[in-house]
């Protein structure tokens, strides 16, 4: 993506050159199937197990609690469906939120069709879930609580420690979709009482199509992918060795620099927010000002529509994202923005900027300068806007 300024790191990230370098040998040199018996497969096996160890350490888990999957979506599906069916004899009630990623939301919707009952907790207007609301929703039939660690659109970070404590007290399984949080904020599954946690490598400068589900020892979601004996018989399929190696290398780097990156990106993000709020009228910041991922800013520009905004930014070489209906191909704007109570017309005018390693203050200034002109142009075209 030469010549592009990339502000969409929540969608995906570029794989770091060091990560690619670590992956490369496993494509055509040490390519053996890690499950084979001959000696050359040992290199691959060793790489997989070493990676598992690294990943476990980064989230405070044990090595044998990490199960590789094809990404965040599969980890979410497995954790939720697998736990629902494994605990069907105990109850049929699941608690989640209105603003989960579709990987969680659609899985829950499907389970409803299959006879499970799901409570969708509404976040407050700042995008935070209240533990007391979860507590109120618990019944004697509740078998699973699944709450995202950090929201992918507005970046808000949920009170995971409190929720984990509550789940433990009540003896209910707790899964968290931490796809956006892993590598960006410190996570310790033991301290936070997390039973299952989903992660995905492409969100922290690792490759796409590889992720993992952390499953606490003793927790046994039903097997989701039937086949060979890989992953201790719990997730079949020949391991994506280069992917796993890249996943571990990228996560290790992110975990070694979590604080430093958070500080750097957070300052840049705060600068962006201040600039936008000061220089453009009728703009709202979506999501809690401080309880959010360090790299996330989500704005709503009144009187204009998000897709037109994205197209205009793209013409200036800027890549960003929006919760507008037009960008989703549906008629409704983002369920996340609606869940925090934004009216449709404000939700249509949203812009998500997610910063990363490659961004600079110069790029932020360029973005703000372009935004001022674009927002003004689109507003002058809008029947909702009346200048005075």
């Amino acid at each position: 993506m030469k010549g592009q300024i990339y502000f969409d790191h929540a969608a995906t990230t570029a794989v770091k050159p060091e990560v690619i370098a670590k992956m490369l040998p496993y494509f055509a040199v040490d390519y053996a199937n890690p499950s084979s018996v001959y000696s050359i497969s040992r290199t691959a096996r060793h790489a997989v197990e070493e990676s598992r160890e690294t990943i476990a350490q980064c989230i405070g888990a044990d090595k044998d609690e990490i199960y590789f999957t094809s990404g965040g979506t599969e980890a979410d599906n497995w954790a939720i469906r697998g736990s629902a069916y494994a605990n069907k004899n105990k109850g049929n009630h699941i608690i989640t939120t209105e603003f989960e990623h579709h990987a969680v939301l659609h899985t829950c919707k499907q389970l409803e069709k299959e006879g499970f009952e799901v409570t969708y907790i509404k976040p407050d207007s700042e995008g935070i879930i209240h533990t007391s609301d979860i507590e109120k929703a618990i019944t004697d039939k509740t078998i699973l609580i699944t709450i995202m660690f950090a929201n992918n659109e507005i970046g808000t970070i949920q009170p995971i420690y409190e929720i984990g404590k509550l789940a433990k007290e009540k003896g209910i399984l707790f899964h968290t979709d931490a796809v956006q949080a892993v590598g960006a904020v410190p996570i310790n599954v033991k301290e936070m009482n997390i039973d299952m946690l989903s992660m995905s490598a492409h969100k922290f400068y690792g490759p796409k199509g590889i992720g993992a589900l952390y499953v606490r020892k003793g927790v046994r979601p039903q097997v989701f992918m039937q086949g060979g004996a890989q992953e201790k018989n719990r997730r079949a399929g020949t391991e994506n060795v280069p992917g796993i190696v890249g996943f571990a290398a990228a996560l290790f780097d992110a975990c070694m620099h979590t604080e430093e990156n958070a500080l750097k990106l957070g300052q840049m993000r705060d600068y962006l927010i201040t600039e936008v709020m000061n220089k453009i009228p009728y703009v709202k910041l979506n999501g809690h000002i401080s309880k959010r991922l360090p790299n996330n800013a989500n704005f709503s520009f009144e009187f204009i529509e998000g897709e037109a905004l994205l197209l205009s930014l793209d013409l200036e070489g800027i890549a960003a994202s929006s919760g507008s209906a037009c960008t989703s191909g549906s008629l409704d704007p983002s369920h996340v923005l609606l869940s925090i109570g934004l009216p449709h017309e404000i939700a249509h005018g949203s812009l998500r900027i997610t910063l990363g390693d490659d961004n600079t203050y110069y790029q932020i200034d360029y973005l703000v300068e372009k935004l001022i002109t674009i927002v003004d142009r689109l507003r002058k075209m809008s029947p909702l806007y009346h200048e005075n």
Partner: protein
Amino acid sequence: MEYTKEVMEHFVNPHNVGELENANAVGEVGNAKCGDIMRMSMYIEDGIIKDIRFKTFGCGAAIATSSVATDLVKGKTLEEALMVTNKQVIDMLGGLPDVKIHCSVLAEEAIHAAISNYCETTGIELPGLKKHCDGCCECCKGEE
């Protein structure tokens, strides 16, 4: 989803943007809920659309279809203008992605809404006037 060169041209440099000061026909269709509102103002004299402007809240396709629609009816008689269809708007744009067809429907409706407004205030009766958007987004889906 990708837009044609023509859509991008009309999006970047839309024709007839704004509000006519001396308008005697104004129509607004769509709603903010769906993310598209089109407002057209016309100056009609001797049964001819002498001038036209639009204002649109919406995506790239909504802005481009508004622009093309105003081009298509400018200088036309009311009867001719009512014969302009969303299909013509799509053709002028070299095609639209399926999910954006409703924008062209809305543009056609906006013309009808403005002319309808003119007919109401002047008491003229015209055949071929369509009813305009009732806020039912699903109704526009897939129409061609």
